[in-house]
């Protein structure tokens, strides 16, 4: 197991890193004979034992379909399933548990809103605003919807630091705008956007706002009532929970107005061949048998985060990221892509003229997992005029020693490629 022995590194006294790491079996893995250094947490986070155990317990102890059964197991499964909904409600401080919709991930959550909100509220000549730093999953659903509805997609510009141009945004808020959808934290640049400010500005013109919180939910405390967000999307697998599971939060007033996204079992009240009526929230948007096991797993992940404390996680990650920025900036010819004042968990960089793919492959061979490429943000790469970046993204279970090894690994790669 790794120890934080680096005396230069600041260490959180209250954080027993060895104990924390022992809760994640995969962190003991070796790749190419070297201890795994996992710095691809923005792509997906690792899972603690408690999450795996909860999924196992479900299948071993009370696997059953939810909501419909009269029998005991179905009731137990339904209770666990609905308990997660209340855990999510509490985690983001939603006003009602039925404002929490289970989806298969952030992407589906955004597609749901694009499709259902679009059908109900978007007409030809209307427009939707996104930003220049969006992930493809917060671009394409709106593009598809705008093409379908004869609406226009507008883009908030950014500066070279990777921060939104808020004056430009404010000027874009005209009568045609029916929805704003922006990311809370950039998956490529790590920029934390002034989401409260964005929502306040849009609301001053009565325009609702959707927040892509995929890269924020595991790092920053989110209170949807304080933010006054109209929609908020995130994925379980980026917050130590299982894959294939996500959340759409939506204000009751919007969700009630919007037509269903998919049809099937569970989402109906009555069905006849002439006309069917739909179930109440949240079930109207949850057609078919849901991903019960992974909903249970997400519940365990939220318990786990609450036990560690999101504030402790944030504090530790800020120290890690500051240390990484300091150490990486000492490498000659290294330049950061994205220099936002407020940053969460991701650092993108390039070294001299080296190709990010080469650097990533040479880091991989040293046991260091990073992501290279455009990170599903091609328009952003075009803005910076680069083919891609090397991205190191952190979680609270990473160590200062791992960052030292990342720095050594980058130096080694730069030397080989130089």
């Amino acid at each position: 197991m790794l120890h934080d022995s680096n005396t230069l590194a600041p260490e959180l006294k209250k954080f027993d890193i060895d104990a924390v790491r022992s809760l994640f079996p995969i962190l003991q893995t070796k790749v190419y004979g070297k201890p795994l250094i996992y710095l691809d947490n923005a792509a997906t986070t690792q899972k603690p034992l408690a999450v795996m155990q909860s999924i196992n317990d479900y299948y071993a102890g009370y696997n059953s379909n939810v909501h419909r059964g009269v029998h005991h197991l179905s009731q137990v499964a339904t209770d666990a399933f609905e308990e997660t909904r209340r855990k999510v409600q509490a985690y983001i401080n939603a006003a009602h548990d039925y404002e929490v919709i289970f989806t298969k991930g952030t992407t589906e959550s955004i597609n749901l809103v694009a499709s259902s909100f679009g059908k109900r509220f978007i007409k030809p000549g209307d427009s939707v605003i996104i930003s220049a730093m969006e992930h493809h999953s917060n671009i394409i659903p709106w593009q598809l919807m705008c093409e379908d509805r004869g609406a226009e997609l507008k883009v908030i510009p950014i500066d070279e630091n990777g921060e939104l141009l808020m004056d430009a945004f404010e000027a874009m808020l005209d009568d045609t705008v029916k929805l704003v959808s922006v990311t809370f934290v950039s998956n490529t640049l790590g920029t934390v956007n002034p989401i409260k400010n964005i929502i306040d500005l849009a609301h001053s013109k009565n325009i609702p706002v959707m927040v892509d919180a995929a890269q924020a939910i595991q790092h920053i405390g989110i209170d949807v009532q304080y933010l006054d967000a109209d929609f908020l999307a995130f994925s379980s697998h980026k917050m130590f929970g299982p894959t294939g599971m996500g959340i759409l939060y939506g204000k009751e007033k919007w969700l009630n107005e919007m037509p269903p996204y998919q049809g099937g079992g569970e989402m109906i009240k009555t069905v006849s061949f002439k006309k069917s009526t739909y179930n109440v929230l949240p079930f109207k948007f949850e057609a078919g048998t849901p991903n019960i096991a992974d909903v249970v797993g997400l519940g365990a992940a939220i318990d786990f985060i609450n036990e560690i404390g999101l504030e402790n996680i944030r504090e530790r990650e800020q120290e890690l990221i500051q240390y990484a920025m300091d150490q990486l900036s000492a490498i000659s010819e290294l330049r950061f892509i994205g220099q936002a004042k407020e940053r969460a968990a991701s650092i993108s960089f390039l070294v001299g003229k080296t190709h990010p793919f080469d650097v990533g492959e040479l880091l991989d061979k040293q046991g260091i997992a990073v992501r290279t490429g455009h990170h599903c943000t091609e328009p952003l790469m075009d803005f910076f005029g680069i083919p891609g970046t090397v991205r190191a993204s952190f979680a609270f279970y990473n160590t200062f020693q791992e960052i030292d090894q990342l720095v050594a690994g980058v130096k080694k790669a730069a030397m080989l490629l130089g």
Binding site: F357, L362, L416, L417
Partner: protein, 141 residues
């Protein structure tokens, strides 16, 4: 040398390396040494776009023999490209169309041939085969 003999020679060369670092140093050096494609051929038409790195490929057909020149913006890909170019260049379309490229896997870089990695090498190999098949069908006409 046949295509098979050239590949076996590369595999024997790589057997001398003790660790991945030496292996990569060698590949990167090959990349640096690769005679780059003439500028007039480094066009979008000759560009094979991978998700991660880009490869340019030009084919020349003279006196029944195909010769390739290529380039990549990533050095490791370029090194591998250089080896594939060396293995397949100077052969007839029939020989190239029939050839199986096995050395990439044998030297432990099979990840470069994974379709999900899409870094250009696999697409380049397909493109080389397509050139061979195209010239082959021409010669048969």
């Amino acid at each position: 040398m046949t295509i098979r003999e050239k590949q076996d020679e590369i595999i024997a060369d790589f057997a001398l390396f003790d660790d991945w670092m030496e292996k990569y140093e060698f590949i990167i050096q090959l990349g640096k040494d690769l005679p780059v494609i003439a500028d007039q051929y480094k066009t979008d038409d000759n560009l094979i776009k991978g998700c991660q790195s880009r490869v340019w490929l030009h084919a020349d057909y003279t006196n029944g023999i195909l010769t390739f020149t290529a380039d990549s913006d990533a050095l490791i890909t370029k090194g591998l490209v250089s080896m594939v170019v060396q293995v397949l260049s100077g052969h007839t379309p029939l020989e190239i169309a029939d050839a199986t490229i096995y050395f990439v896997e044998a030297i432990g870089l099979s990840s470069h041939l994974s379709p999900t990695r899409s870094n250009g090498l696999l697409s380049m190999l397909k493109q080389m085969k397509m050139y061979a098949v195209a010239y082959l069908s021409k010669t048969l006409q």
